[in-house]
Every structure is written in C-alpha cells, then in structure tokens.
C-alpha cells in the first residue's frame, strides 16, 4: 500500500525512481558507461569484482544504476540483484565477435528469469569507435533479439569513450518507464 502511494505521489510531482541493472560480459564497457552517465566523463577502470552503484538523474527520473561485474565467476551472483528491477541495460562489445555467442546465451538466460519478467531491455551495441565493430542490425541478429516476446526492447549503437548513443538510449528508457 505504502509503496503504491509513494509511487502515485512521485508521479504527480514528476520525480520517479527506477532500479536499473547494467549487465553484460566482462570487458563490454559497463563500468565506463555507468560513470559516463553519472559524471559525464571517461574514467579508467579495472575489472569490476563485485558491483558499482550510482544514481543518475535524467529526464525527471532518478535512476539507481547497478553495474555488476561480468566475469564468469561473478555472473552467478547477478540473480541476487534481480528483484524489483525495472530495466536492464545489456552491454555488448560489438568488436568482440568471438564471444557474441556467449553474450547471446547469457542474455537469453537473463530473460528467462521470473524476477525480471516486467523489466524492459535496452541493448547497447558498444565500442562502435573500434574498427571492425558490428552495427546494431548485426548485433540484433547475433543476439536473436527478435525472439523477445511480451517485453519492450530496443538497441542503440554506442561508444562509451566518445559518449555517443548513451543518452539516446536513456531517452528511450525514461520514456518507456514513464509510460
């Protein structure tokens, strides 16, 4: 009851909160994206053993963004963060064609999760600045995004280093979440 009430209130005042997970294989650029969104600059990162969490204010939505480590050893613990998640940002290294299959498998495994049934999905085809990076269509194909049913999703070409495409994605996300 209480939660519902606060939600209604905050929607009246146009200030909503959402919990968002940033997932993806290791070295996809998740942490860089998080800090690009949070601080607007590129920070030097090391592999995330664990998680980072920051709040990003965008379009009247307060996004609590959780960046989870993508290493094989940490992926099993992603599920600890699934409850109450409104959106998933799935980051793919578009130049790492060898591991696209793994990225696809992990992606579809996430979508199977009961606790993420209501979450919308935003895919970042990241690292577009690198030569040989696949474009969004190719990534859509590789991740078999068309198989997604009963869920809102979209894909954006991004480059976290150059800051391209990230906020277009957030635009989509904030609009979708407000709706």
């Amino acid at each position: 009851m209480g939660i519902l009430f606060t939600r209604m209130l905050s929607s009246v005042f146009g200030n909503r909160e959402a919990r968002i997970l940033v997932l993806g294989l290791d070295n996809a650029g998740k942490t860089t994206i998080l800090y690009r969104l949070h601080m607007g600059e590129v920070v030097s990162t090391i592999p995330t053993i664990g998680f980072n969490v920051e709040t990003v204010q965008y379009n009247n939505i307060k996004l609590q963004v959780w960046d989870l480590g993508g290493q094989t050893s940490i992926r099993p613990y992603w599920r600890c963060y699934f409850p109450n998640t409104q959106a998933i940002i799935y980051v793919v290294d578009s130049s790492d064609t060898d591991r696209l299959v793994t990225a696809k498998e992990e992606f579809h495994a996430i979508l199977e999760e009961d606790e993420l049934k209501g979450a919308v999905v935003l895919v970042y085809a990241n690292k577009q600045d690198l030569p040989g990076a696949l474009d969004d269509a190719a990534i859509t194909e590789a991740l078999e995004l068309h198989k997604i049913k009963n869920r809102q999703w979209t894909i954006f070409k991004t480059s976290a280093i150059k800051g391209e495409g990230l906020f277009e994605g957030l635009d989509w996300l904030s609009n979708t979440l407000k709706a």
């Binding site: 995330t48 664990g50 998680f51 969490v53 609590q64 050893s73 940490i74 613990y77």
Partner: protein, 902 residues
Amino acid sequence: MSGHDSKYFSTTKKGEIPELKEELNSQYKDKKKDAVKKVIAAMTVGKDVSSLFTDVVNCMQTENLELKKLVYLYLINYAKSQPDLAILAVNTFVKDSQDPNPLIRALAVRTMGCIRVDKITEYLCDPLQRCLKDDDPYVRKTAAICVAKLYDINAELVEDRGFLDTLKDLISDNNPMVVANAVAALAEIQENSTRPIFEITSHTLSKLLTALNECTEWGQVFILDALSRYKAADAREAENIVERVTPRLQHANCAVVLSAVKMILQQMELITSIDVVRNLCKKMAPPLVTLLSAEPEIQYVALRNINLIVQKRPTILAHEIKVFFCKYNDPIYVKMEKLEIMIKLASDRNVDQVLLEFKEYATEVDVDFVRKAVRAIGRCAIKLERAAERCISVLLELIKIKVNYVVQEAIIVIKDIFRRYPNTYESIIATLCESLDTLDEPEAKASMIWIIGEYAERIDNADELLESFLESFPEEPAMVQLQLLTATVKLFLKKPTEGPQQMIQVVLNNATVETDNPDLRDRAYIYWRLLSTDPEAAKDVVLAEKPVISDDSNSLDPSLLDELLANIATLSSVYHKPPETFVSRAKSTSTRQDDEEYADAVETGYSESPSYTVENPAVTSTSSSTVRQTGSAAPASSSAPTSPPAPVQDLLGDLIGLDNAIVPVDQPTASYGPALPVLLPSSTGQGLQISAQLVRRDGQVFYSLLLENSSQMVLDGFMIQFNKNTFGLAAAGPLQIPTLQPATSTRTLLPMVLFQNLSPGPPNSLLQVAVKNNQQPVWYFNDKIPLHIFFSEDGRMERTSFLETWKALPDSNEVAKDLLVAVIHSIDTTIEHLATANVFFVAKRKNANKDILYMSAKGPRGIPLLIELTAAVGVPGVKCAVKTPSPELAPLFFDAMENLLK
C-alpha cells in the same frame, strides 16, 4: 488428511528476516540505515542474519560513513560463512581504498585484513599495495598491520607480492606510528615463520631508537620488544642502546616499563664494564618497585617477572626486600609470589627481618600461605648457613604453638635441614618426637620416620616409635611405607637386637607378600637379600654418607631462565614456561614433521594405551628433600622408565584392558604410535583431519582413529557409521570421542564387529565410512579392508591336517599370483613376521635355488587358507599360491600378503 491442511504451513505473517530484507532494499537512505542497524543488533545478540548477506553488501557503496562502518562490521562477521558471495564486496574495497578521505581508505584496508576468505585475498593485494605507499600515515600504519594479517592467511602471497620488503621500508618511515606498526607486523610475521624475516640492522636500529621516543605507548612496547631481540655488535653499541632506552623506565605504562627492563637485561649481557652494569641495576630497581603499587593483578604479573629477574640479577632488588613483605590484604596469589621472592632475596644481612616476617605469616589463617611460610623458613635455613640456627629456633617456637599443619610442615623442613647440616641440630629430635601422634599427612609422617630411622642410635625408644607406625603399615600411603621399610632396616642395622629383628620380619613380610606396589616390593627384596647375604655390605649401602643438599627448588634451569628472560612481559614469563609449550600455532609445522619421522621409525608395535609413567609417589613429589635418597639403596625409586621395552607394552595393554582402552583426550598420545594413513585431509574436512586404519588386537578387530582439529571451532558429538561391505564390518559401540578443542587431536580404538551389514556381490576391500559431529557436515571417506586383520589366532595347522585339507580341496580351488614387490630377506624373520599377523608356518622345502614355505591361516568365518610361498631369498618377487574353499577371497588375500611381505 485432506489437501486443506497445507494452509497451516503457509502464513501471511512474514518473519523478521524477510522484513529486514525489504527494508534493506528500501530506496530511502534512513530506512536503509535503520535496517542495517537492526541487522547488526541481531548479529550482536547471536541471531544468524547471514542470509541477508547480499542485501547488506548492497548498502556498502554509500557516502554515509556510519552506514559504511556498519556494513564493514557485518562483512567481518559473515564473510567466512558466505565465502562465495564475499567476492561481491571486492570492488567496493578497491574503490574505498582510493577514496579521497583517508579515514575511509584506512577503514577499507583494515576491514580487508579481517576478512579471512581465500578466494578474495588475491584481489585485495593491489589496494593493500597502494595503501602501504599512501600519503597519509594513518593509512600506512593500518596497512602495515594488514600485511601481518594477510601473512597469516596466505604467507606465500605476501612473499610473492613483495609486501615484506615494503614493510621493511616502512621501518624508515618518517612517522613514528608507522614505524611502530611495521615493527609489530614484522615481529608477528617472524613468530609464524621459520625463516629469518625481520632482522634489525644498524641502520634500522637508529630509526627505531628515534621512533621510540615519539610514538604511542603501545608502539613503544613493540619497538622495545624488537630491540630486545637485537644482538648488539659490541659492548659500546649495547651501552648506547641502553642509554637511549633508559628513560622508558619512567613510563607510566607497566607494559612499557617491563619491556624496557627486558630490553636492558638482554643488552646488559654484552656490557662488560662493572660500573655501567651496577649503575643500570640501580636504575631498574625503582620502576620495578613502582609496579608493586598497582592493582593486585598487575602486581602478580610484575612479581612473576621479578622472580625471573632476581634469579638472574639478584643485586637489582637486593636492598628492596621490604617492598615484598606481604600486606594483610594482599590477595593470596600475590602473597605466595612475594614469599617466593623474599626467599630468593634473603641474605645474611636481612635474614632477621625476613624471619620475623615469616614467623608472622606462619600464624595467619590461610592454611596454604602458612604452610608456604613455614617452608620458606626451612629454605632460608638451607640457603643461609649462618641463619640456620635462628631458623631452627623459629621453627621450634612454631611447633610449640601446636597447630597441627604448622607442626607437620615444620617437621618436613627440619628433615631437610638435618640433611643440609648433618650432626648439628639433632638435639631437637626429642621435641619433634613429642608431636608424633598428631602427624596425619603422608609427607610429614614420612619425614618423621626418616628422622627416626636416620638417628635411631640417638633415640632411645626408636624401636617403640617405629613399631607404633607398623601396626597400620598396610593402610599407609606408599610414601610412608617406603620410609618405614628403610627406617626399620636402618634401625636393625644400628641396633641388631631382638625387637628390631622381629620388626624387620614383619615389615619385609608385609612389603613383599602383602603389597601390590612394585617399588615397595623391589626395595624390600633388595634389603632382604642384602641382609641375608652380607649384613656388613648392607650397612655400607644403607648407612652410607649422604650427599649434602642445597636449596635448588623453585629455581629454574639456566637455559630456561635465559629463554624466559627474553620473554619478559609476555604470558611466557608469567607462566614460567617457554612459549612453544602453550602456544600451539607458533612453528607448528616443524614439530609436525618431527612427529611423522618418529611415527615412521616405530612402524611396528603400537602404543594406543596411554603413555605410562610408573607411579612412584615417594620419588616424584619432593624436590630437594631427602626422602628420595634414603640410603643409597633405593634402586626402585629411579625415575620412571620413559620408553619401556616392547613386551612390557603388550603386558600393559592387557592390563589396561583394550575393550575400553579409549584414550582420554588429555593424554599426550597423539604423537606416538604408528602413522595412520590420512583418509580425510584437513583441507577437505574444514580443519578436521581423520586418519584411520583397521587393526587387529588380541583377537578382535578395531578401527584405530586419529582425529585432529585444526579448525577454529570446538567439535563435539562425534558419530561414526560404516556402509555395507563385504565382511559386514560395523562399529560395536558408539564412537567415544570427547569434545575436541581447536588445535588438539585425539586417538581412539573403536571395537568392530563382523557380519553386521553385509553387502552382496563379489568380495572387495572397499570400506566406506561416514563421520559426523555437531558442528560440521557429515564427512565421507573410503578405506581399504586388509584381509589379514581377520586372520584369527587359532589358524595354526598341523602338518598332517594341512596335507589332508590340501588334498580334500579340488585343484580348481587353487589360485596363484606373483607378488612382484614382495621380498623374503630371511626365512626365519619372515616366518616370525607373518606369525604376528596370524599366518602360521607349517613346513618348508627347498627346490633348486628357491625356498618353498607352506603356511596356514584362518580367514573370516573360519575359512582355512592354505598357502604356498615360493621365492629365492633376497630376490624380489614371491610366488604365492593359496588353496581355500572360498577362492573368491584370493585377490584380497594376495593384497594382504603383498602388504605383509613388503
């Protein structure tokens, strides 16, 4: 039962944990913080909130220092129980160790060190490395301690990452607290390592001495402890160091004072100038005296340390004996220690004063204290020849008070005084004899009887006096019996008249026929034979000159004393025991190896029974007293045999009764006996290691088990279960293992029964065992059943019946195998060796260069096994053939034979 009953199990009411979980995930910071506080509160009172691990860890990345500290506290507590999830905290540690706030950096590095989870230690090395070189001294000093913690978790990692060198660099740090902590960390690491890691050079020496004056009191203790291990190059350097440290003696903190004293004592060894030494001694006295005005607990620690110091350098406190006089309201433990030191400081100069004090103490109410005071008088008499007479007169005065325990104690010490000053004070014997009837303690009785026997010629009614004791001879304690025996013999030798002759008959009869005590019996027999063969020789032996005694009780062996002095201001100097005797962690690896070597050396023979010390009360207790040297003819009272020969062991094994030969936990048996194979290594068993083997003892099968607890937990409630197996082996009773404290081990013999839970199928040797306790999950491990443990003692066969049985069995029942690793070095030893395993020799013959042995054994269910061994002596490879009604056992049999002939 209808399906509706399920509603009783589903409830709408949420438990505390789900409620907390919800609050932890709240978007409101205040609610979150409150929730974490609730979790910590629950944790503190002992509720298990480990299931909230991820939810709490998710609160870790916060600006709020209070919240962060709470989460860190939670992590320290539960990381060990959630080792997999602990990895989620790593990134936050890494971030926090780079936080602009030095408090947070230090907090992160301190918490990291407290999380003892192998999986994440490696990730924490980089942040630690950074923090060791941090700009802020507070972070550096915290990181220094963290290295020592990490070393305890993973020593190799610390060495590989070069942390030790970084730590050594920190000794030259410009901040004294960093220096002190680096020293503390290095000293701690050194204690757990066998290699030299921390050695002070002349360069670091000056750094340490500078830091000493500037750092906190506890930092000073670390530095002083390190300095006391430094070996100065020469007397000059030692003097310089001491000079720099002397001001520490005035410090208000007792730990600093004691550490400074320790350090000065160590360096004084090198100082040659008598003036300097005398000067230093003078300087050390006042601070030591000051320690005695602190609380009683601190007084006690100080007294124990002073006890060591005065043994090494009596001059320091020679003039201060008055401060050791007992106050009426001192606790008893302080009084006892003060007495000890008073005896050590007593000299011709102060003995009058001291005796007055002792006499006063001897009239107090506390029995133990009074006894000790009386003994103290005696020890003064023995120590100070010129005071002996005054001591005697004080003792006589005390005897006149006629307080029972004072009299008895006085008689005990007077006996020692007689030994020390023969033919000087015998005039008082008459007074002593007056108190004869009141004696009821064994030691006092024994002392009095010794006096009567020793001076029988001067005591007119010595025979009557002794006779009065003889009536109760069988009921007396062994100590008194031994003295009675010797005293009667002395009396007889001194007065070979009719009375004593009758007495000696009675005594010898009692001591040889009626007694169970082997010491008494042996001593009586020796006297008997001496007296019956050559009474003159008996006189020479029994009445021989005795060596004069000196007061060496309660003083320590010089090498031990030096070791303890090096450990002043630690528990070791309070216990008066070297650290390795009560700290099990230190250098445990090296002792472990010794044990294994020892175990290998005694492959055969067993000692499951407790290590026996043949009790000899007459000998064991008194230290300087004469009781043990009653004449030179006391052979039986030589100290207990430490390593009895093998047959005695067997005999004792029988006596003890192996059915319930369950070794108590405090018996130091763990290091003895043959090495058992390790079946559950401690790495698998969360610190519990189980070694076990099936053995046969006295016709019964036992499971010999060794359990070692290297975990941090107390383990109890042990149970054991065996899976179905070919021979149906099962435990005959419950596993009797007492509570297993951390870092202890216990051995036990579990009686086994056969044919209980038989498994179908062809015979195999697999034995699956499960062991559980109240603290850990159930452990499963596999063992092998060696067939020869079933060979029964009655398996010997006559030649004729062997032949008949052999012929009666069809040839198809004969199986043969070449045992390649087996070897027969000598026919006779092999036969002997096999006989101990109940494989009995029947006949042998020679064929070309080979020997053929025929042997028999009786397997489980009485199945006969007829064996033919063919081999060339000394050449590896034995052909083994077996003929039996149950040839399916043959593979197991060959395994057993190969084992036996290895």
